[in-house]
Amino acid sequence: MSEIDKLLDQHGKAITEVYLDWENGSKIEKEVLDAMIPFYLDRKFGNPAITHRFGWETYDFYIGAKKTIAEPLNINPQSLAITQSFTESNNLAIKGIVRANKKKKKIILSEVEHLSVIHSAKSLYAEGVKVEIIPVSNDGVVNTDILQEKLDDDTLLTSIQAVNHEIGTIQPVKEAYEIVKDKNEDIIFHTDATSAFGRIPLDYSKLEVDLATISSDRILGPKGIAGLYVKEGIKIRPLYEGQLSVEILSPDVENSPLLAGFAKAVELQFARFDEIKRETSRLRDKLLYGFQTTIPRTDINGPQGNNRAPDNVNISFLGCEGEALTVESSMKGIYASSGSACTSRVLMPSHILTAIGRKPEEAHGSLLMKLTRINTEKEIDYVLETMPKVIERIRSITGGISL
């Protein structure tokens, strides 16, 4: 019996399990897997550029799958680059634009961007790039006045996410886009829409962002595939080199099974888009306000109502340390993550919670739960019924320590 087996044994396994840690890892539905299996076992795994029946079959599938994924965004499928993760898409957007456009040197980001955006930008310091960070309000909303101020003739790229991944803030992308383009049509506008795609309506034929990141695993598609919309005419360099393949921006041969899964996840999410939006919003509010009414000293992180992504629940339990919270919840079968320093691989609290002005002890006591199309009311009831006990026990350990 390995040490971890013993740990799991000690931990035990709750009879009821509710997985809400979708931000950190996701499964897929049987239906999505079924869409992938033929490509693993049977056909259409060929290289779509090779001149034989397998290649042509793959090509046919490939074109169709890209169309399916592009459709809800109302973009030309050919403008959608397929990548291997939203992290890669964000790196490609930031580094690819900088390396293809050497004249201007300034990138403007919001303070609450995903670390893949922030770190990509900062990694370019060595190449002479300047990075300006726009602060946010207490709800995490980007300050567009400051954006306006920071824009100048040296500005190459602005990157503002569509929805914040941790606190669910829906950003004023349209407004930011217009401010940027009013200043100078040539400034490139990227939006990381990873946490928005499938959650809130997006139409890039109307809101003409230049680049947009989307991901499969965030809508219960398989991990290992994502997208970057690149508007026609935008100059961008690939991140890595190799053979020429169908994807100009990636030298890897197309991954049919993952693409099939991505396309199926898009179908499932958008076929019931309104219903999923309504249902997750309802469960989200049931959780948020349920916690607030049954558990003292709680604080909602991020905005409320229509300004919040339908799938996002993030709440701070004062007097609780978050890692202890995730462990105690886990023992009751509830799986979530925390912005606490102790749950991360580096011991720093979430940069997003500190950006919205949360005090450290608030950030450390936060719990992030996400809702997907496969979460049920029964699960939420169980969480609401169980969490007061979890919080109570953790607070009993904190005791009288004054924070």
Binding site: E321, P360, I401
Partner: protein, 165 residues
């Protein structure tokens, strides 16, 4: 080394997290000390009941911290029961970690915080209660105490730096 493998806890950590020994405020403590800071998300209060022969007859803790922090504090209270202050003083973070089955490296500070709090309590006892320092008590801060203090200093720095991340 191309991968960063953060060893999960040993089972003993979870055992003590689930069932912490010697948890809670001690109303009749001889001395109490705390270490850590809420900014780092880790704080420990350590309570000692000490008899006339400088022996710890009872100890307890409160913890605002992660599972390792809680387990380390609890483990230390078990280890020092009925030990003299000198014996108790000599337990290091390493001893605690070992007793817990080995703490993941990123969790070093959780173990050292417990040791730091205990040593603070011991120093406070001699300073405030007996008002005489025994020969075995080092004048300078020990490694584990420094570690705990560093955490506190770091916390303050972090607090100020947050907006600059």
């Amino acid at each position: 080394m191309s991968s960063r493998i953060p060893l999960p806890y040993a089972p003993r950590v979870l055992e003590l997290f689930q069932n912490p020994q010697n948890l809670g405020r001690m109303e009749d403590a001889t001395i109490v000390a705390s270490a850590g800071s809420p900014a780092c998300g880790d704080m420990i209060a350590f309570y000692l009941k000490i008899d006339d022969s400088d022996t710890i007859t009872k100890s307890s803790f409160e913890s605002y911290g992660c599972a390792s922090n809680i387990a380390a504090a609890s483990q230390l209270t078990i280890m020092i029961e009925n030990k003299t202050l000198e014996e108790a003083w000599n337990f290091t973070w390493n001893d605690v970690s070992e007793a817990l089955g080995g703490l993941p490296k990123v969790k070093t500070h959780c173990g050292s915080l417990a040791v730091g709090a205990l040593r603070r309590a011991v120093r406070a006892y001699f300073k405030e209660i007996t008002k005489a320092s025994p020969g075995w008590l080092p004048g300078d801060l020990t490694k584990d105490e420094k570690h705990a203090l560093e955490e506190e200093a770091l916390a303050e720095k972090l607090g100020k730096k947050y907006k600059l991340l």
